[in-house]
């Protein structure tokens, strides 16, 4: 193991070589014993570990008991749903159908019966599709 790799592992996993990836441990221990620079990197990582450990939360048993009790109370409470939520399986499709019908009628009423401005091609299409039957031989 090279010193750079050792430093990288120490920065990543801390000063306890036992917590480094297993494949690195033997080589790392050997390097820590042989190289003062590696030993210094390890000491620096250990110092940071010790600082982090100061912020480790402690959980008192009464907090655990209180949390367990609260979960029990929450699960014992019957799930109450508003009356309209209970009707949702019926209300949802009925409302969708009614909305679709209203939108359909509104669009139908809003559609102009005759276009106000048409260019030549539209007039021709309109004549063919909407007008009276064309006399035989008009087109061919």
């Amino acid at each position: 193991m090279k010193l750079d790799e050792f430093r990288d592992r120490a920065q990543r996993f801390g000063g306890d070589i036992g917590r480094w990836p297993e494949r690195n441990r033997l080589a790392a221990k050997a390097l820590a014993e042989a190289s003062p620079a590696a030993a210094a990197a390890l000491a620096e990582a250990c110092a940071l570990d010790r600082l982090i450990e100061l912020a480790r939360p402690e959980v008192a048993p009464e907090r655990v008991d209180r949390a367990i009790g609260n979960v029990g109370r929450r699960l014992a409470r019957p799930v109450r749903r508003a009356w309209w939520l209970r009707l949702m399986p019926v209300l949802a499709p009925a409302t969708s159908f009614a909305c679709a019908a209203v939108i359909g009628v509104a669009l139908g009423l809003a559609q102009p019966v005759l276009p106000t401005r048409q260019d030549g091609a539209e007039v021709l299409v309109s004549l063919v599709l909407d007008g009276p039957p064309l006399p035989r031989g008009w087109f061919y």
Partner: protein
């Protein structure tokens, strides 16, 4: 878990007795708030009860699944506007007796608390999983639904940032 899925409340109680303390600690390691961490731990077990049927032991252990629920709930909570102010670092009791040691240790603890609170939430989660819970890189990565390399990358960024921030805060404290 099969018993919980069949609504056996004694099985849930058994799991809570075993894991509630660790669950609160993990949430608190990420949230840095004791009240919020209890809420998150409770919500996590309510979810365990409701989602037990969807747990698949072939995809991982129960603890990995629980850790993932706790990490996600905690990060979600951190992303919402927080009503409560961060609790003072002094809440945590120290076991040391010597006055000078206690003073230095208190100063350092406050600096680490402040530095941890300033870390991005995912880096804080990586610190909580690896350092406070003692999980391996692989298990930490699974709890955050990440690859091992991505987890290690979060961890190294968190440690470097912590070291720098703590050094700045301690230097500022000593200048005052």
């Amino acid at each position: 878990m099969a018993r919980i899925a069949a609504e056996d409340s004694r099985a849930l109680r058994f799991l809570m007795d075993r894991h509630m303390g660790r669950t609160i600690r993990l949430a608190e390691g990420i949230l840095r708030s004791s009240a919020e961490s209890e809420d998150v731990a409770q919500e996590a077990f309510v979810r365990v009860w409701r989602l037990a049927g969807s747990f698949d032991p072939r995809r991982g252990r129960f603890t990995t699944w629980l850790n993932r629920i706790v990490v996600n709930l905690s990060i979600d909570r951190l992303r919402k506007p927080r009503a409560e102010a961060m609790e003072a670092a002094d809440d945590i009791a120290s076991g040391e007796t010597d006055a000078l040691t206690r003073m230095i240790s208190g100063e350092e603890r406050r600096a680490v608390e402040a530095a941890l609170a300033a870390l991005p939430e995912r880096q804080r989660a990586a610190i909580a999983l690896f350092h406070f819970e003692g999980l391996s890189g692989r298990d930490g990565a699974a709890a955050m639904d990440l690859g091992e390399k991505a987890f290690e990358s979060l961890l190294i960024r968190a440690r470097v940032s912590l070291r720098e921030k703590v050094a700045v805060l301690l230097a500022e404290g000593r200048r005052r």
